[in-house]
Amino acid sequence: MSGLDDLYREIILDHYRTPRNRGELESPPAVESRGHNPLCGDEITLFLLVDGEGDEAVVTDVKISGQGCSISQSSASMMTQAVIGKTVGEARAMIRRFRSMMGIEGTDPQPGDDDIDLGDLEALQGVVKFPVRIKCAVLGWSTLADALDRA
């Protein structure tokens, strides 16, 4: 079961069983964005609140609702913890770094991306060995990217 152990690390299962920042925010003022995985039909809704303008604005709150598998739910849960309190520019850099960790090309890397510390999210590295699950892992991130574009 070594492959599965690599995928289902304890931190991932913890976020799956007890997802952080679940719920909804009033929209507006929050930006509401929906994401779905056409492969399995999973749908999530992300609520984003930023304070300020442009890349220097600060992500003050993120909430996630909807259903998904352990990978999509834990990834989104850890993502909310990672980006709350960061600037929009930093959040975008984390999205690029995460997508690059998932082996997704065309993510337009910027200098310094490699130095970004994803913290607990590094536990999702094992997903790369299971290509069909990559879409699950990035679902929350793509939805966040969409919300940031519209914030």
């Binding site: 995928l7 799956y16 069983r17 039909g41 259903q67 598998c69 352990s70 990978i71 699950r133």
Partner: protein
């Protein structure tokens, strides 16, 4: 050849494949079936010895290839008891067949406010082509609902079909396994003056099919789910219905003549077969039909009834309330398709854990999202059986499900 599971399995080379030193437990035949050696061999032999264009050139090799292609048409006609092989049209897949029906029958015959009746357990292939006509022509779609155990609720069928022009329904649900009463539904359609269209994609590979006994008008099905290759699908239709339909794609082979001013169409079935068709695939399909006929469709159906019964009982005994299996429990009205929910685990995670033991199942919406909404779920895990599956496969499935608990602790 009498039906013997060990003998059948030996005919499928892929079933000898091991991953991580463990055998393959292929439970995704509702998605696509594996291929027996004689299908692989027939395609390979044809490519090595007889490949040539069909219906175009006059040399002997081309004649041989044309004969092989037409032989496939005759084999398919025999399998479904069609009155004439000319009523069998080859397409790319069953989805193209349903789209052909919507385009070539629907567009000329339907208009604003005309009613098309579908059911809640249709595959997207029998929903979206009609929704396209709703958007383009303003046709109205009505839905036959389901009972709590996943059968068609026919209580209001008379009212739903009242004034309908088309009743298009599946002969076997790809999610629930439900086998609705096809002949009764065709009769109900005809009583209402509607065209009876049957999506038999899941049905034909697993059952004795008799399109005349059904009294259907148009029937769509595919090769790759019945041991044949992918890339070729079938549309059977009553000749008078097919003859009155508009052509589908335009090009070579489908014309009688072409001038600068226009064209006339070839007779059915060529009228619907524009361009070079899947020739090699037709040869493989013929071998698949002969393989199934040798075993006997009634024997295959009986094997799957026994296996489905065993699976329903085993999963219930081992997991009780921890597992919810959707669809009818009576194997007389259900095929070998088991969609289920298990211990609050997401189907993707279940599928991942089963894959560790090479148990291949489908996790997702099964191209039936409206049905998922009716069931109140986003997705399910689906194990689907075929003639090469046995009780040992069900046992491995159950063992593998058990191991999910170890990982997730649910």
């Amino acid at each position: 050849m009498a039906f013997d599971l060990d003998t059948v399995r030996k005919e499928f080379p892929i079933l000898a494949r091991e991953i991580d030193d463990k055998p393959l437990v292929y439970l995704d035949s509702g998605n696509t079936s594996q291929k027996p050696r004689q299908v692989i061999q027939a395609m390979s032999d044809f490519l090595e010895n007889s490949y040539a264009p069909i219906n175009r050139s006059s040399y002997r090799l081309a004649g041989e290839a044309t004969e092989a292609y037409e032989g496939a048409r005759r084999a398919v006609a025999r399998l479904i008891n069609a009155p004439s092989a000319d009523e069998v049209v080859f397409t790319k897949n069953a989805t193209e067949s349903t789209n052909l029906i919507a385009r070539s029958w629907g567009v000329p015959n339907l208009g604003e406010g005309d009613v098309v009746v579908l059911t809640h357990m249709e595959h997207h292939a029998n929903i979206v082509p009609w929704q396209m006509l709703r958007d383009e022509l303003g046709v109205e779609i009505r839905w036959v609902p389901l009972t709590a155990d996943g059968q068609l609720d026919l209580t209001d069928i008379g009212r739903l079909l009242d004034g309908a022009k088309v009743f298009s329904f599946t002969a076997m649900s790809n999610v629930l396994g439900t086998l609705p009463p096809v002949a009764q539904l065709c009769a109900a359609a005809h009583d209402a003056g509607a065209l009876a269209v049957v999506d038999a994609c899941q049905y034909v590979p697993h059952n004795v099919t008799d399109v005349q006994a059904w009294d259907a008008d148009l029937v769509a099905f595919s090769s790759h789910k019945m041991c044949g290759p992918s890339g070729i699908g079938m549309l059977w239709g009553r000749m008078d219905v097919l003859d009155a339909m508009s052509p589908f794609l335009g090009g070579g082979n489908m014309i009688d003549t072409v001038t600068l001013d226009g064209y006339t169409t070839a007779p059915v079935p060529a009228k619907f077969e524009a361009g070079t068709p899947p020739i090699v695939e037709a040869v493989g399909l013929r071998a698949a039909v002969e393989f199934l006929e040798d075993l006997g469709m009634a024997e295959i159906r009986q094997h799957e009834i026994d296996l489905t019964r065993y699976a329903l009982d085993t999963l219930d005994e081992r997991f009780g309330d921890d597992i919810t299996i959707y669809g009818p429990t009576d194997t007389a009205v259900r095929g070998g398709v088991l969609s289920f929910a298990f211990r609050d685990l997401h189907p993707h995670d279940i599928s991942q854990i089963l894959d560790e033991r090479n148990v291949c199942v489908r996790a997702g919406h099964h191209c039936a999202k409206p049905l998922m909404q009716v069931l109140g779920v986003q997705s399910t895990t689906r194990a689907s059986f075929y003639l090469y599956n046995g009780t040992d496969d069900v046992d491995t499935l159950a063992d593998a499900l058990d191991s999910a608990t170890d990982i997730f602790g649910f």
